[in-house]
Structure formats: C-alpha cells, structure tokens
Symmetry: D3
Subunit: 227 residues, 6 copies
C-alpha cells in the first residue's frame, strides 16, 4: 500500500546481469517465460518505434496535474534504472518533457514508463530517450502536492515494486519481480533456443498443426472438416 | 507478484470490528481518511443503487474468458468476506451469475468486486447480492485455465492483498490495507464528527469561503474580483 | 452484404412459438444454449431496468445523423417484431423518440435495438416501450439519405438477418438465427430444467467444486493448496 | 478565451420567464428549437433519473484534482442559477459532494453540470439535488490552484457563457445563449403545439410516411420496394 | 450465423483479376465505389505505415485468449489470401506473432486483419508482413477452445464471408462481397478516371464550389454570406 | 454561439508576425506562455510526425457525415490560414482527402485541424499537407446539410474564434486568442531564453531539486527521506 510524502533511498535492485539479458528477449518472450503475468495494459505505447530496453525500476507516485515528484525521483536514479511513474487517479497531462529527460539521461536512466502523458516528443525522439506513455499531451503541470518515491505502485494495471526488472519494446511493457529476474532470463533463453529451428520449419511450409502435433487434440475436441 | 495455480488457505484478515465500522463511513470518507489512495477506477459501478458494504478481501486472479477459479475461491470465503476478482488481461465476459451468487451467499460473502462483466443482474438484484463490476455481459466463460486464489492482485487499478478491508458503495470501491483498518476507521470517525455541524452552517447560508477561511489564501494566490 | 435504398417486404420470420419461449429464458441462458455466439457488444444497455422481451427482427440500416428510414421500417413492423437499427458508421445521435415509439407500438413492435442514441427516455420509460441502445442523446437527426430495410445488418457487432429471433433483457441482447429458434429453445429448456436443483444444492452450502466434480481436474491441471 | 484567477460578479442572466418555460419543454425539444446546436456530449449523465430543470449559468473553470474554485463560485450563485463546471484538462476526480451541495442549495442553485466526477451520490439523491456529470468518483481533490468564475467555458464540448440558459433532463444538457432564450422558448412552444395531435394520429396507426408525406420524396430519392 | 468447431475447406474466392485491381485503388476509392458500405471500424490500424494490399478472405473465429484456430486456418490459406480473424467477444490479447507470420507467409498470405491484438510488431515490420489490428499487446494466448474456419464472421463491425475481397491500406480495411468484386473494380476505375483532371484544376486554384457547381444548391439550401 | 447557414467573409486575423513567431516555440511552450489554457484534447494527433506549424484560424462547423461546408470554407482561406473543422456531434467519418487538400494548398492553407476523421493519409503525407485529426477513416460523406463558416466553434474541447492563432506540432494543438498572439509570443520567447542554460546545467548532472531550489519547500510540505 502507498504512503504519501516518503522517499525511500535504498532499494534492492534486481540482479544487473539478469536484467541486461532480458532486454534482448523483448517483452513477449519475457512475459511468456514468466507465466503470462506482469504485463502493463496495451494502451501503453512508445513515443517512437524501435526502442527495446531493460532496467531496474525506481518508482514514483504522482497526483493528477502535478509533477513535483519527478524532480525528487530524478535524484534517486542510478545508471541502468527505468523510472516508473504511476498516478493516483487518471490524468492525461504532460508530466515530462525535454528538460526532465536531459536530467534523467544525465543520471543514467534508460527510459521512462508513465501512466499519463508526455510532451516535447519530437525533441525526446531526437535525444533518443525512450518513453512509454498513455498519451501525448502538451498540457503542463504544477508543483504543489507530495507523492512518494520508491514505494510499490500500480502502473497501467501492473504492480511494480522498486528494484523490479522492467522490459519494454514496441509490444509494450512487462514487470519482472526482482527475485524472478534470473529464472525468468533462464526460461526466456530456453524458449528462444529452438525458435530459430521452428521458424525455419514454418518458413519451409511445415504447418504448426504438424510441428506442434495439434491434429489429434483438435479432432478429440470435436473439430470437423467440411467441404 | 502473482503465481499461477496457487490457493492460499490461511490469510490474515483485517480486524473485524474496524472493518464493520468502515461500512457506515462509506467510500468517500474512508478514502479521504486514508490520504486519498487505494481507490479503484471509477468505471467500477454497482449493478444496483443503494448498497453500501464493507468486508475482508479474498482475492482471485482469473484469465480472460475463464471462470474456473470462481468455484475455487468460493470454498475460501468466510462470513464477512468480499470477493475481489482480478483479470490477467482486459475482458468483458460475464464471469458470474445467479448460481455462483447463491453459492457465495451460502458461504457468507457480502459482495463481489470484479474487473470484468457479470450477468443475471436482474436476479442478482432480486437476491440483493451486490456486485461492483466493469460491465454487464451475458457472455459466458469456460473452465480450462488455472489462476490463483488469495494472492496479491491488481483490480481496477488498485492493489489488493488478501485480508485487506474493502468498502464499496454508490461512489465506488476503496481498498484499505489490513493493518490500516483500525486507524483508518478512527480517522474516518474524526472526519465525520464535525460534518453535521458543517452541514448545518452551510445549510444556513454560511459560505465555505468563510467557514474554511479561504478568502485570505485566495487573495494571496492572486484571485481578482471584477464587475 | 448491404444494398442501399431497398425495402424488402416479405421476410421469413422465426417460428412464433419458439420465439415466445425464448423470452422466459432470457439472454444469458439463450446465449449458452446456442453455443455462446450471437451476442451484441456489452455497451448495448436498456434505457430502463427490468424489461425482458423476445421478438422477430425487422432490420434497418441507417446513416449517421439521418433517421429517415425509421419511418420506412415502421410500415414493415408486424405484431411481435423487434426493430434492429444498425448504422453505417459510428454515431451517437438520438434517432428515436416518443413519437416514433408511439408509431412502433401501434404497429405491434415489442422493442427497439439501436446501435446509436435515443432520446425522450423519460417518456419512453413511462410508455414502457423498451429500447436497448449504445447511448442516450437529445441530438436530433435529418431525413436526407436512403438506407435499407430488411437486409442483413451488423448491429453492435452481431450479424442480424431479417426474421431472426431476438432476445433482450438487463444482461444485453442476443440474436438467434431464425432456423435455430426451435432447437435453441429446446436446448435452453434443457439447461433450465435442473437449474432449480443446482440452486437448492448451492444454497444449502454444497460447493460447485463438488457438485460439478472439479477437484480432480483442477488437481490434474496442477492446482496447489498452500497455507 | 479564458483568463485565470478572475471572478466576474455582475453577469447578465437570460430572461427569467423564458428560462422557466424551457424546463417544461425539456432538452430534446429545446435543442431542436434552437436549430440543433449547443448540446453537451452524451457522456454527461444525471446521477438519478427523472430530474428536469432549467436555470441560468454561473460558470467555473477548474483544474484537474483541485476544487478550490467551487467554494468561490458558490458565493456567486443566485436563486435560479445552474452551476456549470468546466475542466482545463480531462479529469475523473469527485469535485463535489454533499457538503457543497448543501451550500449550493442554500444559495438557490437548481443543479450542477460538471465535466468531471461527483461523489456522495446516494446522499445527493436523497437531497434531490440534481447533478449531471461525466462520471462518479469518490476521489477527493485539493485546494491549491486558481481557476476562474463567470468566464466563458467549454463544458463537455459546449461553449457556455455566464448567464446562458441551461436545460437538463434524462436526455442530456443543452445550452441556450442568453439572448436566444425567448425566441427558443417560442420556437419550442410552436413545436410542441401540434405534438399531441401527431401522437394521437400515430397511436391510431397512421404512419409517419403518410403523416409527413414522405412517400414521394423517398421514391424520388430512389427507394425500391422488393418482395 | 456461426457454427463452432467447423472448418470449411472449399470456398469460392472472388475473381482474382478483380481483386488484384482493387489494391491499386485503395480503401477510400473502393469504399466509395461500393456505395459506402463494408468498412471496418476506424480503430483498425496498420502496424506500420505504407502497406496497401488486396486479397481474398479466409476467415477464422477465435475466442478471447485462445489462438488455437490460428494454426487451423493457416492450412486453409492459398496464395493471395488475406486472413480475417474475428473474436467472439472483445479481447486485446496478442494472438499472432513472428512464428505464425512466418507460416502464413510460407502459405502465401498477403496480410492479417484481426479484431484483437498482435505482438512481435518490430519483427513483423522487418518481415514486411502487414497486419491491421485493434491493438498491440505482448499478452500471449492458450490453445484450448475450438472456433471455426471459413464461416461468415463479423470483424470490427463488418460482415465478412469467406472468399470476399479485402482491401487494406493506411486508411483502414474494406470488405467487398465476392460477387461484387468485378463491378466494384469497374466503378472504382471510373471514379479514378477523372481524378487527375480534378486534381489539376483544384491545384490551379479552381474551387470545388465552381468545379462541382455547388453555389446554386447552397444558395437554395439557404446559405448566407455576411461581412 | 453558433448560427447555421452563415459564411462570414471578413474576419480579423491575429497579427501575422506574432503568429509566425509562435511556430518556432511549438505547442508546449506556447501553452505554458498563455497560462495553460486553450489546448485541444490529447486525442488530436498528427497524421505524420514532425510537422510544426502556426497559422490563423478559419473555422467551419460540420454535421456528422456531411462535408459540404468544406468546399465553402475553401474559398475563405487566405495564405497562412489553418482550417479548424468542428462537428455538431461526434463522428469518425473521413471528411477530407487528397482532392480537398490540393484545393486547400492552392489557397495557401498551412494545415487542417479536424475533430473527426480524414482519409487518403498516405497521399496527404506524400503531399506534406499536415492534418491533426481525431481518427483516420476511409468513410466518405455526403453533401446535404448547411453548417457555417467563420463562426466561433468548439473543436476537440477548445473554443476557436475565427482569426485566432493556432499552433500545432507532435504534442498537439493550442489556440491563442487573436489579441493575445503578440504577448503570448513575447512570453514564449522569455520562457525559451534561459532554456538552453537550464538544459546545459541539467545535462551536467545538476538536479532540478537544486536548480529550482525545491528542497526547502518539499521539506516544508512534509517530504521524508527514509532508508
């Protein structure tokens, strides 16, 4: 549960090596490897196509229309972190632009994931600072109300604890609990191991029906072919 | 984080007396008393107006189109519980109808809170079994995939741990962490203590501007009156 | 596929007796009896609670902002019909109000199902003419463009052929193809036959887990109970 | 265009007698009488069914998450006014509850129209203070930022100038410019004059096709009847 | 109407030559040529810009969260086909990724149109396999429930019969009934014939008001010019 | 308030020089400089990324499904204008395509802002005629109903008077009242003056907490750092 006005400085980050490996697998494979949980809602979209990153979560809880805590969370960023910004209620304002991005990049942040809006997206794209957000909005914010930093938050429908591993690409954003990072990377690697082989078979015209031996279970389930 | 295929039988429920008190305060007061966190998204609506309940959460994580675990969670209900049903991905199917409601009532459940659809709402209304849901849908579900029971879940944007206190009324649904239930009830009672007095003043024509002494801070903030 | 500017006068209506029986089963049971197809999207809501009707479809295809064809379809209504109004593109205007309802009732229509808006809902409620619609809007329409009457239409995601059986209640709207009406009514009756028995068992505290013999398949699927 | 931090005290209200007449015609007729403009978006819904009101607009521009100005606008209410609350950006928070309603009623307000959320809807219903809103939410707000009172605002897609006539019922909300109130009431009266006659004809089975003489223009437009 | 668990192997495909012609006209012109029907809802978007294709429909009806039938439909693909995937209820899961795309391409499919989510969009873009979908989601699916292949389906609000011609580009997706393909191509060609001429005139500064001779009808309709 | 069937020929356009300056500042800075008002809803998106324009508004009010007035507004365009198209009710149809764009460009229009759909987006992109719209749709429209030109309109939630300055870029669209254009440009210039300096500091690792001297007010507000 959240507590307001708290900044937690020391958090336990997921194993760096495991987190690094996850970036290469991408979101879909990581999500499958975890057992199909931890995905943010599909309305979270990258501001530009092609970015694929992983990192450790530093979290911030914001209130609608107020981005004061974005400056507070900036100080807590360590190289390799991804900032996860959650909102206490739905809001489409633009909480983040090129100046904050400059600061986040200087601190070593790899990305921002925000369940609200961002702005200056043209400049952010030129800077190649990737952001996944609910929307894009030029609407600025005030600095009047305390939220919290590095508490557990719900962002776009997913629970994020500070230090969790985050993977984001064009397919969306997935959250891997810190102590699952290693085994998830292992499971993802196992999944990928025979993907090349499968792809080659399918490309040669072999059907999934045969490759996955689905014909019998489909028939048992009652599938009928008619002309 | 979630684990699939797990049913946790022993959970620590919030203090019963504190939970009972919260029903009378309702959602808006409880939410204010907590510091304005823990509210589910406003798309969660009651199937009929007027119900106002509190209870302790038993949680269930469902997959789209599959309500198998609703039968599993039924067995874990104790009198005074509220069932919180979360989904692993957005779905509008009707996961719950009059037969399950009969079973839930027999177990002592006070309400269902579900981030998806329900059906048989006419009968549920006649039975006076209150449900807060994302939508109403006659679409039935299958029983093929395991979810989990009594794990932490994210329901309509709010984190719910098994045993948390839940308050629901026409204004929505709020989650009070189990160990906050007592102090939240105290804070809510304090808020309500002078509400009658305030209401009487306002009804007599006294303005909030004067009652809350807002004129000076408004002037300081730069408010200008013009003709 | 649609053709514009056509009014088909002679349509083959579903068997009257079968259609009458479906009203009593309601939407959820009818939908299950059909094999879970034919349901309109859950955004279709009744303008007042409690109506439960069945009837044979007369269809009309409207264009955004234009209700001219509502007067054309009125003439094709026979007692026991339900009018299904589809739109060629999304629109929230109010295509139907108390005057048209007076006319539809005089022709023997049992309800209107419209994938757009209606107005005069207070009067419609007083008249007890049930309408299921996408929204409520006072926005009126013009009479300038031809649509068609009694052609196949897609209404709220469901294909409706003229003469199909329609069932609508607080859970939504379902479409039963005309030549399925009898067997669907039979299947629905079979489903309901033992519902009372099931309900009594569940009310006495028997769990669905036992009544439906789910414990073994759940265990086989890997469900684990922990303390 | 808006200016922030301004409260305009003297506004020119629409003619009282004309405004009173509009309540009886309701939203759909008023909107038609005006030439089909001025309607708020159909997402604006009453918190309870059956209220039908008219009044003169006092306007307030709020910022997301901040209801400070609601107390400022309360002082500007005169008997017969309707408060129109617009937002500078989308927000679903509950800006208004039973205490503010008590104050508004004491000042003579007839209704609140708000392009955001309200709370305490059960109590508001008991008090019979009608509210049309975008949603219902228990989420409270802070008091930190200036908006303005009695400036032109855009509320739910409609431009409202202070003093405009507002009509609201179960079909929605319509805005009548102050200097149009009289002629709109006249036009609405003219529309209603022969409605009873039309209704009687339609109830007797006369078709709109004949009553409105549509058969010829439909044929000219190319309508074909087929069997 | 749909039947579950059926795979129809022999379908009558629209005339190949006519289908090929339609690709060049694109969706807007094809849709106009048909009389403005058959368009899918505008929420259907391409995963990358610039693709413009036509093909013959093979259809598949899927259930939420279950992509088993995607493997069944793969076997029914013939070169020049476009797969149309409909859902029995709304779902945002990612039913299709790079492996299925490899298989579909090997079978000669030109595109996938799916009223749900897809994943691996970065790889799909590299493969240049075009997909039009409701959303993008990394959420995987199970293989447990039968749907059907090559039955009539409703996809994104449009009825699609197996064998229909499909045209898709950056403007959306349109369905041309198989036996309309030839005449639609003719009508589209006629529309395009004088487009170049019109464009040249408009580019030279001639107004549509004059080119289309609208001034008189506008004046008759009551248009007034004021200074 | 709107009047239908009116074309106002002489409008007072915002100062050209001021309008030109605003393009360079972009939407976010302009919006801040104005005091955070006048922004259109964030659902307004450019059909291609990278365009950044300013211009003076010529306005048109359209009805759902009818683009007749687009030809009327074309004649009122002067070089440097931006066309603002508002709708009298929500509609997703494609009101504008490559032919109209050719005409608008020939008249000197810089962009179209439309609270509905557009089509031919591939061609519009090749022509580099920028459009901000609610959606993309191939659905065409008819020419049957009068709207108005150069009246005040509400477009995507923002009031636009003819002659106002419009700024649009990847962040959205903002409306600057004509007589505010000069002072807004001045204020925007002032805001930008020290942005480079701020960016350099932040890039060097200075925190916003220190640069903006936020540590003390945060502490006063009650912020607590914990380990």
């Amino acid at each position: 549960m959240t507590q307001l006005g708290i900044v937690k400085r020391n958090i336990k980050r997921a194993d760096r090596a495991a987190v690094e490996r996850l970036a290469a697998f991408g979101v879909a494979t990581t999500h499958e490897a975890m057992g199909r949980v931890g995905l943010m809602k599909p309305y979270m979209r990258p501001i530009y196509a092609g970015a694929q990153v992983s990192g450790t979560a530093v979290t911030v809880l914001l209130h609608p229309g107020d981005n004061w805590m974005m400056h507070v969370v900036a100080e807590q960023i360590q190289p390799g972190d991804v900032v996860i910004a959650a909102l206490s209620a739905d809001c489409t304002d633009g909480f983040f632009g090129d100046l904050l991005a400059t600061s986040f990049m200087a601190r070593g942040a790899r990305a921002l994931i925000i369940d609200a809006g961002v702005r200056d997206v043209k400049t952010l794209t030129e800077m190649q600072f990737p952001v996944w957000s609910k929307c894009i909005s030029a609407k600025g914010t005030i600095k009047a109300t305390l939220g919290s930093v590095n508490i557990p938050v719900v962002c776009a429908g997913a629970l994020v604890n500070p230090g969790d591993a985050i993977v984001a690409d064009d397919d969306g954003v997935v959250v891997v609990p810190a102590d699952w990072a290693h085994k998830t990377a292992e499971a993802a690697a196992a999944r990928e191991a025979n993907e090349g082989d499968k792809r080659a078979k399918l490309a040669s015209g072999v059907l999934g029906l045969d490759m996955y031996k689905m014909r019998e279970p489909l028939e048992k389930a009652g599938l009928k072919y008619v002309d």
